[in-house]
């Protein structure tokens, strides 16, 4: 084939694999009930596509073509006895399915079932995150490993253990029953939020923007599980936080919320986040993600509504009774003008948050404001030692230098 055609085919395939990989994988897993087989079959189908499409041109439905070929590849593998444990009845069922598959047929969207499976509480939390990024985000094992500062073989093992457990333990490929839905949805949203936070902490240096991945997943959930207040709350939270991304860093240094240049905030994204939050709150089904989104909305006001933020953290504590929520509440109290009360709360958290960087950064700031310089300088030093990014370390080092006359 001529070089320009080859490039066009490669580009078309890349686009399909980027935009529709999650949907295709979900459709394949739904048929095959085997994560590994689905991934390998889709990979093989993509390789076939390169030569086939180059010879005869793009099919009418590249997605349908890939699904059909991937299914056929999977059936070939099953027939070849690569997985002898497969029941003969399953195979017959797959063959029948494949016969029905016409290119123009709409591929049913199975991604909701897939994300509930990936985020099943029977898997450990880190594996839920990794599996979601792998199957629905289409990140490579290497990309996921780098995002979570793991070695690639370690992440590879984690992914294969999780896939093996899904099949061996009989984790179902389905949307949970209504009585289980709130808890299971919270598990899914927590994974989405963890992905967002990983992107937020590491910053835009990664090969894939995890914040954008998380927003993509939250939008997908809002589309597939509509009218769900917590899903909307989660999406609003991500949008309201992400809208500030361009103002968070200046010359490689983190900028505190109140010092950020609001002109750099993404206005349309903020407006969208607020509208979605309003819709969520109107459903009168409160939950932790809506509270977090409301906090983000209050933080975006000028000046931030600190008393309201402190009250919201108190509400959030009912859902998530963790010392980190108490820390955030203490920060809001301090900003609302209740410095002595905040310092008392911070001192009470010294033990549970001994290794938590934001705790020491908060102590540094507020002991400094209260004029307790030795305590502030000790806290700055600890916070700099524990800083996750050079930008945070740079910010704190400069603040500490300002304290010393």
């Amino acid at each position: 084939m001529a070089a320009p055609e080859a490039i066009a085919v490669t580009k078309a395939l890349e686009a399909v694999m980027r935009n529709d990989r999650g949907r295709l994988i979900a459709a394949l897993i739904s048929r095959l009930r085997d994560f590994q087989l689905a991934e390998e079959a889709l990979q093989e189908a993509a390789i076939s596509a390169l030569s086939h499409w180059g010879r005869v041109g793009l099919p009418a439905s590249p997605q349908g073509w890939l699904l059909k070929v991937a299914l056929r590849k999977a059936i070939d593998r099953l027939r070849g006895g690569a997985r002898e444990t497969r029941k003969a009845a399953d195979l017959a069922h797959l063959v029948a399915d494949e016969a029905d598959e016409s290119e123009a047929e709409m591929i049913p969207d199975q991604r909701l079932r897939l994300i509930f499976t990936c985020c099943h509480p029977a898997l450990d939390p880190k594996s839920r995150v990794a599996l979601t990024l792998r199957t629905l985000g289409g990140l490579t094992t290497g990309e996921i490993a780098r995002a979570f500062l793991d070695a690639e073989p370690t992440m590879g093992q984690r992914l294969s253990r999780a896939k093996a457990k899904i099949s061996a333990a009989g984790i179902p490929f389905k949307v949970p029953d209504p009585e289980d839905l709130p808890d299971r949805l919270n598990s899914v949203l927590t994974v989405v939020y963890l992905i967002f936070n990983a992107g937020y902490t590491v910053g835009p240096s990664l090969d894939r923007d995890l914040c954008a991945e998380a927003i993509f997943l939250a939008r997908m959930l809002a589309l597939l599980q509509p009218a769900e207040a917590e899903v909307e709350g989660c999406l609003a939270l991500l949008l309201l936080t992400h809208a500030r991304r361009d103002a968070r860093l200046q010359r490689g240094e983190s900028v505190a919320l109140t010092d950020q240049d609001r002109a750099l905030w993404d206005g349309p994204m903020l407006a969208e986040g607020l509208a979605i939050l309003d819709a969520a709150l109107a459903r009168r089904a409160p939950g932790p993600f809506q509270i977090k989104a409301a906090i983000a909305a209050c933080q975006n006001q000028s000046p931030p509504d600190w008393p309201q933020i402190a009250a919201l953290y108190a509400g959030l504590y009912r859902y998530e009774p963790t010392p980190i929520i108490h820390l955030n509440q203490a920060v809001a109290l301090a900003e609302a003008g209740h410095l002595p009360m905040a310092l008392g709360a911070l001192q009470a958290l010294a033990e549970p948050l001994a290794d938590y960087q934001p705790y020491h950064a908060a102590c540094a700031e507020y002991f400094g404001r209260a004029g307790q310089m030795p305590a502030a300088i000790t806290a700055y030093t600890r916070a700099i030692d524990l800083a996750a990014s050079p930008a945070d370390a740079a910010f704190l080092t400069r603040r500490r230098a300002n304290l010393i006359p």
Binding site: A168, G170, P172
Partner: protein, 120 residues
């Protein structure tokens, strides 16, 4: 799929014999078993005598070593089990949640080994 629900508990944190809470717990066990039988999912289920009756055995270098006590000396030990046959893990977890020991101890849910996966 068949699952074993392994019932782990620490006797000292469970209701004591003769108390109303104990009666309630025993009624809970009976109700859980009855429900599994009624739903047609129960394959078997037994309670074990206390851990003070346990004897452990292993063979090392061809010699049988016999020891007093359970395999692992932890606070919580195996007190009984159910084997149920249900479509998937979510359903198995629902039955596990019916067992009163879930309130005081832990129910471990493990799929049984399938020796004939092809179903021949």
């Amino acid at each position: 799929m068949q699952y074993m629900l392994l019932i782990y508990g620490a006797p000292e944190v469970e209701p004591q014999y003769g108390t109303p809470a104990f009666k309630e717990m025993m009624a809970g066990y009976a109700a859980a078993s009855a429900r599994m039988v009624e739903d047609g999912v129960m394959r078997s289920g037994e309670g074990l005598q206390g851990v003070e009756t346990a004897t452990s055995l292993r063979i090392r270098d061809g010699k049988v070593e016999t020891m007093d006590g359970p395999f692992a000396t932890t606070k919580e030990h195996l007190g009984g089990y159910h084997v149920i046959d249900v479509p998937n893990l979510d359903v198995a977890l629902k039955y596990a949640a019916l067992i009163p020991s879930a309130l005081y101890g832990t129910i471990e849910v493990r799929p049984l080994m399938d020796y004939n996966p092809a179903g021949n």
